[in-house]
Amino acid sequence: MNRFEYVRPRTIAEAVSAAALPGSAYLAAGTNLLDLMKIGVARPARLVDLNHLPGLDAVEHRPDGSVRIGAAVRNAALAADPAFARRFPAVAEALLSGASAQLRNAATAGGNILQRTRCAYFADPDSACNRREPGSGCDARGGENRLHAVLGWSEACIATHPSDFCVPLVALDAVVEIEGPGGAREVPLRDFHRLPGTAPERESALAPGELVVALRLPPGADRFAAHARYVKLRERTSYAFAVVSAAAGLRLEAGRIVEARLALGGVAARPWRAEAAERSLAGAAPDADSFRRAAEIALADARPSGENGFKIELARRIAARALALAAAGTPARLPALPASPFASAPSGGLHG
């Protein structure tokens, strides 16, 4: 790890001011940043430590129906907030399917959305990686790439965003609240992560020195609570990143789907909202045919970026599975293995 200057601000204004100097990085839990510093992928000259800032760790259920999640709220604390878990069960399920209990006790909401890709070539300073070292190339293209992107990738970069939390959040129209040198602003989560294009090093909408202070779910985002699930296919049952994942929310009336939400994880450099698929479900019967059709639409533009064509059909099946599980109803208690496709299936089967 490189040596760095350590700064401990006491207010958001102090933090933003300290981080205005080039080479600065904000430090929250450090579960991702310290790891990357240990392997030489991140080498900040200055760490602006957010751990002593007051006021960033509250979950506020507001009178207008919105929810504001402070950027420093720990993953485990958010999933354990009874009102939050009741109103946004797919978000809680996604949180509890991620990492380990130790990491969930440390990792923050803001850090989760800003976590870096788990591409092995990004994590290896001796490999070519346009995301880490612009212009150096992409060793993932001809390398071990079975877990890489199938949507929204470019010749410059085929990495995926690894977050589970972001997948249901983007399905529910979450908004990112930001403070920075230019004042406060907000960005929809769906526009927060950039697709790589020709500049994969520009990972998010944040300008230099800007700080994520909160995530917000808009009024009414809890209207899917009765039919909301997250499903995550992993190479191990627990403590693994998604190969592919899906968050689904449905509103059902008189046996028909009134409104649907669907987003995919592990398939692109951003949590992938599938709006055309959602539209195809409006007015449809909540059955296997509708769900398979929606899944086909969600992956219509997918193409392999390497030895990962299998992920496209897996993503279709996980999307259909998440929709079928959502239609069956949110369980009263999360299953022992949150988001696992190996949990018991609703009667009647999942794929028709």
Binding site: D49, S100, Y239
Partner: protein, 165 residues
């Protein structure tokens, strides 16, 4: 530049001068305080060998900067027993043969203490296994570990509605 940090470690106040901001809680415990029961396995948050309780919650000490947690309360494996009386989790690990080489054991034990305190797993073996998945055991003692955690949960009376399951 030297910075002073203060912790309550195993119920005793400690003040430590740090000449380097890079020190993690793991290195603070092992290198500065000679509390080497907390193990350095991967040093990257993947194996769980360095699990401690930080303000009552289990975390990976290797991925926590000491300066970030100035003022915190820390419990390590050294602070678990009351004199010669083992903590129920320690006793259950011995009783159920929940280890072979023992390197991961302090982390397993601290993680189990945290798990039981969280109260979500109860006596459901599947929830115990899921809740302990952040602690790897190279010797594959998982069966004994699960049995030990369940036995300790029973011994500590921290049962839930899963009791009947």
């Amino acid at each position: 530049m030297s910075m002073s940090v203060t912790f309550t470690i195993n119920r005793a106040p400690r003040t430590i001068e740090l000449d380097d901001p890079r020190v993690t809680l793991l290195d603070l415990l092992r290198e500065r305080l000679d509390l080497v029961g907390t193990k350095k396995g991967c040093d990257r948050g993947q194996c769980g060998a360095c699990t401690i309780l930080l303000n009552g919650r289990r975390v990976n000490a290797c991925l926590a900067l000491a300066l970030s947690h100035d003022g915190a309360e820390i419990l390590t494996i050294e602070g678990l027993a009351e004199g010669d009386a083992l903590h129920p989790v320690q006793a259950a690990f011995i009783e159920h043969d929940a280890l072979q080489c023992g390197f991961c054991t302090p982390g397993q034990v601290m993680s189990a203490v945290g798990l039981i305190e969280e109260g979500e797993a109860g006596l459901d073996p599947e929830r115990v296994r899921e809740g302990m998945s952040g602690n790897l055991c190279r010797c594959g003692a998982y069966r004994g570990i699960t049995e030990a955690v369940l036995a300790a949960t029973r011994a500590m009376g921290a049962t839930t509605e899963e009791d009947a399951a």
